[in-house]
Symmetry: C2
């Protein structure tokens, strides 16, 4: 019997992919992934069979990966960012339930971390990640989570701020946040991290509402303490006066 490695390759550039993730892809005889991310691995896939499918075909891709492993192949299922965070790890484990396959998960740099590094340090205190995609999550649950995140004064990272069919996801979330948060709450977004066309911007929540975003954008919303320092978005680690620390 073969095995499956679910591999987070990070934002896309080889220099942001861990050596163990790289090795897991190297060992594989079959590589499965979303076409766009397979393309990022150009030059590292020679001699391997590819299972490349488009967006929204994740279930098919998982079943094909499990079938290949059952037939003795060493399969790498590649994910951009992390293998788990909005990645394929859970689908693979669900698809392979009870089949006795050897399944390993290799973590990668998720957009919360790589995007934060580009903006400064927006996630140095407690934060939530929320996907605005309503393909697999009811809209009322998304709304409830946005509200709960604001209530807890969490920093928020928004994945999938728009879908092809719906452009108003981000403004809807911002309107919910503006019920509680200050309009000048420091926010930011990053796009195409580590790839051609990398961009980032820092702006207040009131302006974020009408910002143009796409499916490669990750959005960051600060907590009540977040501020702009020398053009970077920074959330302090402490809520109390920093000199408090000298007591310890």
């Amino acid at each position: 019997m073969g095995d499956i490695a679910v591999v987070g390759i990070g934002p896309g550039a080889a220099k942001q992919c861990t050596p163990e993730a790289d090795a897991a892809i190297g060992r594989a005889t079959v590589v499965a992934g979303y076409t766009t991310y397979i393309a990022l691995l150009e030059g590292r896939l020679d001699g391997k069979r590819l299972i490349a499918t488009g967006m929204m075909r994740e279930i098919e891709r998982c079943h094909a990966a499990v079938d290949a492993a059952m037939q003795g192949e060493r399969v790498a299922v590649v994910c951009s960012g992390d293998a788990g965070i909005y990645g394929m790890a859970s689908l693979v484990l669900e698809s392979a339930e009870g089949k006795g396959l050897d399944i390993s998960i290799f973590p990668g740099i998720t957009a919360a971390c790589s995007g934060a590094a580009l903006l400064g340090a927006p996630l140095s205190h407690d934060f939530c990640t929320i996907s605005l995609s309503d393909l697999l999550t009811p809209q009322d649950l998304i709304d409830k989570r946005v509200r709960a995140a604001a209530m807890g004064d969490f920093c928020i990272v928004i994945y999938n701020p728009m879908s092809k069919s719906r452009r108003d996801k981000l403004s809807r979330a911002c309107d919910i946040l503006l019920e509680t948060l200050r309009p000048d709450t420091v926010c930011g977004w990053t796009k195409n991290i580590g790839r051609d066309g990398e961009q980032s911007k820092i702006l207040p929540l009131s302006e974020l509402r009408d910002e143009e975003v796409d499916m490669f954008t990750t959005v960051f919303i600060g907590n009540s303490q977040t501020r702009a320092i020398d053009g970077r978005m920074v959330t302090p680690r402490g809520y109390e006066n920093k000199t408090h620390q000298s007591r310890h």
Copy 2:
């Protein structure tokens, strides 16, 4: 003038550190970090000046790093896990405010990602990270966030589940969660990820309450959909029936 790189080295093993983070340490003339993490870099620090200080001396370490950079050194401030998530990036940016230093942030694999990979796929849907350390955060804000996370049916990753002085942090958080969540909510913890003594365990919320944890433990609490599959902790990506996806 020198520069500063704030570098996330991942859980500790070299195979989980990105090439760009490794290169940033290689370029540095001075390396600053918590003594325990400096020790993990053994063999990669030849010829470099070290600023190694114990826990809770982060502010001193930052000031020393900024001073060294102002004197022309290329300084790497190393953090375990990610550079931003409960890391040093924000303190460095705050300490260097207005000084005109060139500061780069290199993301790393945070315990939410590496621990999740060890347990299975607990974070495949929206999640929060919460630190239970009350050194820099008022206890009532920690309690409020735990409550808000439960209200939003978020998966939760708990960093710093205990401090040296206080052992009841985790049971306090579990008691708050048990006001809302089912006692059989699937939970897990990981310890010493990628290092000697690596351990993990999956258990229900009702038992997590009395579990022995230490400062190297990361705790995972599932959402209402999380289940154990073949001994792994798995949060499904979708709330709706999976066959829903075939519509697209």
